[in-house]
């Protein structure tokens, strides 16, 4: 699943643009999908401070999520 172009969301620095590629982890996946992080959805990493939670803009919503949760989201980086 982990092709060279995909990486987990927690690896992306602040300001990156990306697209959701796949979700891992049972009930977390359904929660994330319900919040709009379905495969193909574009997102912007607003803040990734290397420690603590990430802030991600997806479908007009700012979502804060823990690093563990972000690690379960595989993305394709599409921008800076």
């Amino acid at each position: 699943m982990n092709t060279p172009t995909t990486q987990s969301l927690d690896q992306l620095p602040s300001g990156s643009l990306a697209k959701v590629h796949a979700l891992r982890g049972g009930s977390l996946a359904s929660r994330l999908a319900a919040l709009g992080l379905t495969p193909g959805t574009p997102l912007v990493v607003l803040r990734n401070n290397t420690h603590g939670p990430l802030l991600v803009m997806v479908r007009d919503t700012r979502l804060a999520m823990g690093r563990g949760e972000a690690a379960k989201i595989l993305v394709e980086r599409t921008g800076p």
Partner: protein, 670 residues
């Protein structure tokens, strides 16, 4: 006296995701005509109210804010159970027009349930300012249901929305909405599941909904379906489900594809990536360096305010209201038996006094909490603190309630309501009393200079630090044991910043204060009266009372702690209210010659015992108001007793440890 045409008043459920202004609408419609209760068997508050319009009386139920309708969280289960089992005539769904895409996900779920839905698009002004052009009538035509634009804060569109809801409630047969379909790869299996279920699913469950929820892996529906299908039908369905475990993401994808089509019809998009006020503020508020500094400043301000305003008010209430009232009662009951006036003036009024003096601090702290929450800053504080609270099994959201505990534990526990995850909320409630409240800090600052001179401040800081270290350790311990399986994800929406709304905050404040007075109030009054009675009978003096006998009975318990029966009683007296510890000391150690309490204590209490007493009082069972409010918020005496029991064990253990160490070192024994 109005003639009603329907056999029961119309029942309308108010649904919506969190932070969409649903409660604003509810408060607007019902005003103070609302009732706060609990959902059966749950700790989630149920808000119900009435709205009257042109002779129609409608019962409104404010459903918990939910992103979807799965059985994973109690709130979502409550919302869907309400729709399935209480069968409202219509559901009004409030959506945030500025984040329509994600909001319509809940609509996609609602449309699977057997109830007509009216959609209210709130915050139209905000959406317009962001450049979104929404055409409600086009959206309505695409969705096949009424769509009404709203600005709930300014009461715009509310009557139109409710009229549409009433119309639909009277003619439910006209409700023919468009419904989302599952993404293509799983369409066949969904049909197969539905066919297998169709004949077996009892009312009120719709077969299509049940089939969809099975594919989503919904634990509750899986349990139900097992019963419906029995041993012969279930294995086939189970096999289908395990072959399609990946369907859950496809279902969500199908819903979002459907939402995308609706939005393309009814909304003209602005260009993406424009930086709004929220992003500009967040650059500082969430900055790794500036963020915590701003957070610190905000809390310093809240505490400064509460001490600057609440303390004098509390004093004023006590000296200018309660004491004259007590004098007046004693004077006007001079003919009655002395026990009666004593009971009224000291017992009843004493208890009520504790309650009333609580109010200023409680009001300010709760108002500050509401203000921070309403403005959107609370979510930022949670974001910043999250990483530090993880080892304790808590989320960022626990930070603010715990912080409020320094003022008073009661709003701390009430404040835990902002935490959605029930296990994290419970843990926060259990840990909050370990934060020393202002009453305990007051006692600390009075006693330490008497016994420790230059070292007073250092001792005080050490004792507070001990409390906080124990809080962290207990959090880690509980997290590793009792709350182990209940780990929850940290995913939280960061709402847009907005100007706080006084009316909503005022209403919420009024409701919380009244709930506190009703529930905690009755308990405090009862206990104060009991305590007074025990302290005055059979008389004549305190020394001969049942209370003193009780204290002497307990005296052996104090040996390990180095406390005599008077210090033990003062410790026990801190249970009705922490302020009582000092008051009791002054009664028990007060000298007739009028030498100050400080001087008497210094000569009669050895420093080692004093230190043990201080440690014990800071860790002792939370005050009665806190216990009552813990019971109110957890909905269980079990958790309440567990929390108090843990505090008792820690107080006994730590104070004993401190005293025994002093004894070993031969320090401060006389």
């Amino acid at each position: 006296m109005t003639a009603t045409t329907s056999p029961r008043p119309l029942l309308i459920g108010l649904a919506g995701q969190p932070n969409v202004g649903k409660s604003t609408l509810f408060n607007l419609l019902t005003g103070l005509d609302q009732r706060l209760g609990n959902w059966p068997g749950k700790t989630v508050a149920r808000r119900e109210g009435h709205w009257e319009y042109q002779g129609d009386r409608v019962t409104l139920v404010d459903l918990p804010g939910t992103y979807s309708l799965t059985a994973d969280s109690p709130e979502e289960k409550i919302a869907r159970d309400f729709i399935l089992h209480e069968q409202p005539d219509v559901v009004v769904m409030v959506a945030d027009a500025a984040a329509l895409e994600r909001n319509l996900y809940l609509l996609a779920e609602l449309l699977l349930l057997p109830v007509p839905v009216v959609l209210g698009l709130n915050r139209m002004d905000l959406a317009r300012r962001q450049g979104l052009e929404i055409e409600p009538h086009v959206l309505a035509a695409a969705l096949g249901l009424p769509v009404i634009p709203l600005v709930a804060r300014q009461a715009q569109g509310v009557i139109v929305l409710m009229t549409a809801a009433l119309d639909l409630a009277r003619t439910p047969q006209n409700f023919r909405p468009a419904r989302p379909r599952i993404a293509a790869p799983h369409r066949q299996v969904l049909t197969a599941l539905r066919d297998q279920l169709a004949a077996k699913v009892p009312l009120p469950y719709p077969p299509h909904w049940a089939a969809t929820k099975l594919l989503e892996g919904d634990r509750e529906v899986i349990g139900l379906a097992r019963g419906w299908l029995g041993a012969e039908g279930w294995p086939a369905v189970a096999a289908l489900l395990s072959a399609h475990e990946d369907a859950v993401v496809d279902i969500a994808t199908g819903r979002y594809a459907w939402i995308g089509r609706m939005i393309r019809a009814g909304v003209k998009r602005p260009r993406l990536g424009q930086v709004g006020l929220t992003d500009r503020l967040d650059r500082f508020a969430l900055h790794p360096f500036w963020g915590p500094l701003i957070l610190l400043a905000v809390f310093a301000l809240v505490f400064a305010l509460s001490f600057l305003i609440a303390a004098p008010l509390q004093d004023w209430l006590d000296t200018d209201l309660l004491r004259p009232l007590a004098t007046w009662i004693t004077a006007s009951l001079s003919g009655a038996p002395p026990w009666l006036s004593g009971l009224l003036a000291e017992g009843v009024l004493g208890g009520a006094g504790i309650l009333v003096t609580f109010l200023p601090l409680l009001t300010i702290l709760l108002a500050a909490l509401a203000l921070l929450q309403d403005s959107g800053y609370l979510a930022r504080a949670a974001y910043l603190m999250d990483r530090y609270l993880h080892p304790l099994g808590l989320h960022g959201k626990s930070f603010l309630p715990l912080c409020l505990g320094f003022g008073c534990n009661v709003p701390a526990i009430l404040g835990a309501r902002v935490i959605e995850s029930p296990s994290a909320r419970l843990l926060t409630i259990l840990l909050a009393p370990l934060v020393p409240c202002s009453a305990r800090l007051l006692m600390l600052s009075f006693l330490t200079p008497i016994f420790f001179g230059h070292w007073a401040l250092a001792v005080a800081i050490a004792v507070v630090a001990l409390n906080l270290v124990l809080l962290a350790l207990l959090g880690i311990l509980l997290n590793q044991t009792l709350f182990r399986q209940e780990r929850d994800f940290f995913i939280m929406e960061m709402p847009l910043y907005q100007f706080p709304q006084p009316r909503g905050i005022g209403l919420a404040l009024w409701r919380d204060l009244m709930a506190f007075l009703r529930k905690a109030g009755s308990l405090i009054l009862l206990f104060a009266v009991c305590l007074w009675t025990l302290g005055h009978f059979p008389g004549p003096g305190l020394e001969d009372s049942y209370l003193a006998r009780f204290g002497q009975l307990l005296a052996p318990l104090g040996d390990w702690l180095g406390l005599d029966w008077r210090l033990l009683l003062a410790l026990l007296a801190s249970f009705p209210a922490k302020e009582n510890a000092l008051a009791t000391l002054s009664i028990l150690y007060g000298s007739p010659e009028g030498a100050g309490l400080a001087a008497t204590l210094a000569t009669q209490v050895p420093p080692a015992s004093a230190l043990s007493f201080i440690v014990a009082t800071l860790l002792f069972i939370p005050c009665m108001a806190t216990v009552a409010v813990t019971r109110q918020e957890t909905g269980h005496w079990g958790w309440t007793f567990l929390g108090s029991g843990l505090m008792l064990v820690m107080a006994w253990g730590m104070a004993g440890l401190v005293y025994q160490t002093c004894r070993l070192l031969g320090w401060g024994l006389s």
